[in-house]
Symmetry: C2
Subunit: 491 residues, 2 copies
Amino acid sequence: MFETLELGRKLKRKDFNTAVLALRAKLLELQFQLEDADFPVIIIVSGVEGAGKGSVVHRLNEWMHPRLIQTHAFWDHSDEEEQRPYFWRFWRALPARGRIGIFFGSWYTQPILRAASGAITEAQLNLEMQRIEGFERMLTDDGALIIKLWFHLPAAVARDRLQADQLRELTEIELSENSSDEFMEGYNKLVRISEIGIRATDTGHSPWHLVEATDDNYRELSAGELVEQRLRARLAQAPAPAVIAPVRPANGDQPTVLDSVPLESALDGDEYHEQLEHYQQRLETLAWQARREQLACVAVFEGWDAAGKGSAIRRVTQSIDPRLYHLLQYAAPTDEETAHHYLWRFWRQLGRDGKFTLFDRSWYGRVLVERVEGFASDQQWQRAYSEINRFEEQLVDHGSVLLKFWLHISQEEQLERFELREQTPHKQHKITEEDWRNRDKWREYEEAVHDMVAHTSTNSAPWTLVAGNNKRYARIEILKRFCTALEDRLG
Amino acid sequence: MFETLELGRKLKRKDFNTAVLALRAKLLELQFQLEDADFPVIIIVSGVEGAGKGSVVHRLNEWMHPRLIQTHAFWDHSDEEEQRPYFWRFWRALPARGRIGIFFGSWYTQPILRAASGAITEAQLNLEMQRIEGFERMLTDDGALIIKLWFHLPAAVARDRLQADQLRELTEIELSENSSDEFMEGYNKLVRISEIGIRATDTGHSPWHLVEATDDNYRELSAGELVEQRLRARLAQAPAPAVIAPVRPANGDQPTVLDSVPLESALDGDEYHEQLEHYQQRLETLAWQARREQLACVAVFEGWDAAGKGSAIRRVTQSIDPRLYHLLQYAAPTDEETAHHYLWRFWRQLGRDGKFTLFDRSWYGRVLVERVEGFASDQQWQRAYSEINRFEEQLVDHGSVLLKFWLHISQEEQLERFELREQTPHKQHKITEEDWRNRDKWREYEEAVHDMVAHTSTNSAPWTLVAGNNKRYARIEILKRFCTALEDRLG
């Protein structure tokens, strides 16, 4: 594939200067249009070592308005980054809608270098590329424009610019000596691996643009023009046509997965207090052990209004040293959050290894309340299942323990609790008009829960459906699940 | 001072339960009032080891609504924290207006423990306490309510709860053996140092509340009631009366510091290109050296509209590898930024050691545009001078190189450039109605700049006033300043 990039394309200084003058005016105009548009732009600057990527980054910054652009380099990683799933570092740098982010180095850098140095196999590289493909599709589905630039140098030119030991230092490829032959061999390996990566991720939604990098003028003007063309085309693009709602079988009174929850389960007071003490002590010890072994635990709590989520969570947090957990409750997003993909507000709060991150309501809002209330389009909430699965897969792959609870109660039990709340002064704040409105949509929510479990209860991240009519029983079930999941992992 | 906390105060379980029932309802009600108020609440939970601080944090979380409260523990520090000034870790955790942040461990923890273990002297401790006092005053001036709780245990009780080696581990105080005597000596030292810290920071704007911690019930109810009382009082507080505008001498046509800038300075083209190449190469090398030696550089660019800030900054960034700098441009704040102290949006972007953070417009907006346009009250912009000085002092103390540039041009030069911009197609976007309006306020801005330099050009962080009528001269001056400042530090 790279032979098309070894043709000796070049550009005279004068022609370059003339072209740049026109290009800059166009880029600026497009940037101001972008400011009012509702999508972000990500420019990925990558390619072989010595190809002048830094110089391209300089040029793009020089040609565009700095207020609307931000450059992020990915090379030296902080411990805060290492202690979270790989993609966290990219999520924290993603530009908001209306802005451009230049990524100097990207999610491609690490897998390609690791494959070239032999740290991972080609099969693993392909798996990483599949993940990247999914990540990029998620962003473009949300409207993002991703412009991927790859800069190539013929091996002979690279050899003139770099020494073998520089190549080894930059890529960690093993080279037995600092000779021209060794250089060529290492370099060709890097190029071959890169080709695999590029091929696997050269998709319709985010294609690669390959640029011959030998001549500075040609390389830089090409980069600028590619950005200009892609941005112009994206701005001209009409909004996507509405997708037809999914065909779903008429399921009027069919049972859902919730009907299988044994709501009659109960615990009496004595048994409860004994077990509570037992499991809370176990969890306390396990939390410290997790801290020592740098194991992260992420737990999601969802459930019906008045299902007892809050008080169940409290039984968990009581057991854990406050230095070891973060409890997050989600209400309306801030404007910075609205300006990003909906998963961004969860990614940004993700705790480090050795900590518990507890989500009281979570990303599942997308396929529950946002679906039922129509805040998300059919297309948006339907694709959310795979987006969520991919997100959780990353948590699990990173080594985190992931727990997901749905607290279930019967419609009758909810009514009783609502009425009790209305009669108890210090609980009145917990019951609003909205709760009564949600209750009217019981059947719709039930279906949403059913579909959610069907799509997202995976082997590595199963849902725990908790029988909640008896609060004592539910609390112990949840504590027990925490303990066994952590013990499984901590041995 | 602690003898008042060794009286054996306690509370029966029954009385505690009754009191808590009433307290919880009141706390919740106040929290919902707070949600609509325009100030944040910071609860600092501190005290000696073994005093049950963790348990207090649990209780406060249990009694209040989790959506409006967030707990932050400060103990194990990430490299991202270590590589920025000490207070960065606290800034990133400060609650937004309407929210409560519980700080388990705080800005007090490190100085007190370091003084107790002998790592710093008492004089240094006092200096740290002065800094803390200034930091807290800045927050309360901005409206914040700071509730500082100190939990004390008599030495004999502490000895029963802890071993000498636990005390050593927790505090790093040197103890020669694991005996009761050694424990008492170490513990008394910690108490004595704590007293110094408490005394120095027990101020009207953020007083300390000392609580006897021996009895669990008494300790926890006291903490809750103190929070309730302070919060209630603060919510009932009428807005502060308007402060009278400062008396300023009539200075109609008196010269300002800007009149001393030698605007006639110029460079011809040849000399410029030669020096540009020279200083850019030097800066490139210095940036890599700074990276190796983990030196941070923070630079602020302010100046008149059309003074050539953008193009001067570009001459700087061209010299630095894009992986080594962040350029930040500030426009309107986001709603998350508005919900915090005005310095928060700058703190949050501060780069790590080894990096350059370049601010194109900065925190000085508070005493320039916000002052002149009336966006900040007289009280707000006047106290900003000391807030800024303290902020910059922290940057310098952390070891960063701090550079501040004001790009100065004459009124006539500005008019020429404005007219040129209006006539040049790709520069028209740079000139707006607002620029012309700002120009009409030239004298007011001139006074604001004069006062800014008078108040904030300190020995450790002086302003560089750059003669900008000749753009070439200005660019070289700025590059030169970067090089000499970095060379001074890097040797």
